[in-house]
Symmetry: C2
Subunit: 299 residues, 2 copies
Amino acid sequence: MAGHCPAAPFAGPVVLDQLTILAPGLLGASVAMAARQSGSARRIVVWARRPEVRVQLESLPWCDAVCPTPEEAARGAALVVICAPVENIPTLAAQIRPHLSASAIVTDVGSVKGELCRRIQSDYPAGGPVFIGSHPMAGSEKTGHEAGSATLFKGRACFVTPFDETPPATVETLVRFWHALGCEITTMHPDRHDEIVAHVSHLPHLAAACLCSLLATKNPDWRNLAGPGLRDTTRVASGDPRLWRGILNANRDEVLRALRTYQDELQALHAALANRNDLELLAILERSKTWRDKLRPIP
Amino acid sequence: MAGHCPAAPFAGPVVLDQLTILAPGLLGASVAMAARQSGSARRIVVWARRPEVRVQLESLPWCDAVCPTPEEAARGAALVVICAPVENIPTLAAQIRPHLSASAIVTDVGSVKGELCRRIQSDYPAGGPVFIGSHPMAGSEKTGHEAGSATLFKGRACFVTPFDETPPATVETLVRFWHALGCEITTMHPDRHDEIVAHVSHLPHLAAACLCSLLATKNPDWRNLAGPGLRDTTRVASGDPRLWRGILNANRDEVLRALRTYQDELQALHAALANRNDLELLAILERSKTWRDKLRPIP
């Protein structure tokens, strides 16, 4: 194995003096648990919106301190991870900004990046704390910190989305942090992220949701007649509707574009089947199988 | 527990003197293995189209005799299960008919029933051996007898599709057979089966296939950026394209109807998102989650 470049100040594993998690649900709790397990943070501080959740968090082993406000939780943090729903992220980022040390890095785990990162960037002028978007592909139809797991990120893809002007050393630190949690990181522009995720995550969600909303108009007994195929195909449709509405609204243009090409693809298949165009029907099914067979397995 | 009705000749577990499996792939091998394990057949006879498969089958514990022709395999059978692709089932059923004993029952495991059952019925006049369609919802994207399992049918839905004129005692025997293999059986008219399965199995396949064929036009690197959601949503798209072409063609009218309503559903969602109709968007996502949350778990 190659050694670390002696001139690189951020080489080697990241050990943060303080990691702050704002609004820990499934993802935030998993970040904290994985950071604890990998020794990536000496101290983990959290803030949750609801007092009853804060009481629960106090007794958890991955939680060193629970603060009543995001500002207090952010104070002294080397890295803040905002785990709130996408529509609340910019406000939280702006709210904690004056309380951060100049060397702090702030990130999030939201499913949408372009607009969101641009909006936050305008509150984080150069020379002070830095915001860089993150998106670990490790959501679930489950929610809440109780569903968290130290191994949630193992082998999972994670986007890190700096702008051209983001200081490289801060990107490096953030990448090393996610790497220590088990992620396979890809850095790219926030807008590029949104195009890709519209196709590999938001569109599949809509495809599954529409299957279910169609079946919801049929005899409820049909539910007992399905095989495992329908279960798998529709699993993601159990996701939180309000969370997903926020994601879809925040990535509206890219999602609409992806959805339209999906509708075109379905129409092509409809036409092939209706016109008894067996060659075209087989070509679609074969192209689809070839692509799926090469999809990367997830641990 | 209730006892058996003393007047019912078919009460109690079915033990067949001879079970014949034609063209055992994943499903046929699993039928044989489950029948052996449940003691449902004293003797299991098989026929496979390819001689190299017949040689392999000879050494398997769930196989008492391997015949070089379907006619020979069918001779003496109490129950014949035809496991060939849907387009080959009617020909095989007609081919073995003259070689069956008058009390024999013939069934299949094909994913389409209406046209197929009607076509076979015309070759099985009343008073001789009886054909009744079956469809255990236990397919997989895997194929071949090597993928078979004695527990494949455990807790799985299974359609049994007699016509009004089918002798009730033969339906009873077939239902008891699938029950012994672990299935949860629903009897219904073949045409009703086709409508339901178009929605709960064939449509999900097309939804997944079109997702994959769309993604196949994008940068191959996107495959490495997907989370488990895309994997689950598209799993069925790995199914055998030729097998699926046969299924879709055999159930064309019902599949086209289901596909059209799915396209309408996607268009409604597209409109809600494009028009910033937040109430409608949330309503679709909520209807979909409510339906999915109540979907029956499969062991």
